[in-house]
Amino acid sequence: MIWIGIGSQTVAGLAALVVRNKLLTSARPRIFHVEYSTIGLISSDTNYHMIGRRSTTPGTGTAINFANPDSADPTDNNIGGRSAITVNPTLVANSTFQDIGLSPQATFDWVAYGARDEIILPAVADSGVAFIPLTIGGAATVQVECSLYE
């Protein structure tokens, strides 16, 4: 099944979106699609700087529900997410799988280059990934949409 989660952030250095295994110790979710955008009035043309990094705890933030593209799918109990993080997850060193400067006036779409390029999460409860704006630049609210399947 495929799941879609969306998170946002207005503060540099805190994650916009955290995706985590809630319960899974036998399955390995795979991220295959990420979209970056901003919402709101742009204060300057300065890029914002996003990273995607692995995490071992979910941090503190607003819980989100993941949507799925198939209306017949069951409710997801395995994939969890948080938005507007106020306390960052515990991040894993040397695990940055995405590091991009982005114009606040643009929208950027990353799709894995085939199944080989998907970001594979471990089958460990509470482990996952975090998408963090290191700098906000001219953006007001940074938004990240992430698609994965389990």
Binding site: Q98, G101, I120
Partner: protein, 147 residues
């Protein structure tokens, strides 16, 4: 196994990112994301050139991040922010792009035939050379590498 590495540079005429092979593997470049971080001074493009080298120069070492958390560490090595340039091979420029400092550009191989393949030779590899800084502050290159 597939890994991600990210290099940065602030000085024109210096290399942003190096990917270095060994005698036992043939790494393949699958995709790149070109972007820049920091205040844009003018709308003048920055220019990056991807070329092969036979000696990697002097860089800040990077630790490649795997796309699969169960993978072992990478065998190839990578470096950022060159202070001594790699020894580039003439007539091997596989990418030469002008990029608006306000934009982000992604190149993805058309299919496996289009991937940039490095030789199984120690210290040989690929470099991303910042030819023109333009209005950018800190250009950066994120590379997707399979070994």
């Amino acid at each position: 196994m597939i890994f991600k590495v990210v290099g940065t540079q602030t000085v024109a005429g210096k290399t942003i990112l190096t990917i270095v092979s060994t005698a036992t593997i043939r790494p393949r470049l699958l995709a790149c994301i070109y972007s820049q971080v920091g205040v844009v001074s003018t709308d003048s493009q920055w220019q990056v050139q991807g070329k092969r080298f036979t000696a990697p120069g002097t860089t800040t070492g990077l630790t490649p991040a795997s796309t699969d958390s169960a993978d072992p560490a990478a065998t190839f090595t990578a470096g950022s922010n060159a202070t001594v340039e790699p020894t580039y091979t003439a007539n091997t420029t596989f990418q030469d792009l002008g990029i608006n400092p306000r934009s982000t550009f992604r190149w993805v191989a058309y299919d496996p035939r289009d991937e940039i393949i490095m030789p199984a030779t120690a210290n040989n590899g690929l470099g991303f050379f910042l030819n023109v800084l333009g209005g950018a502050t800190t250009p950066q290159v994120e590379a997707t590498v399979m070994q």
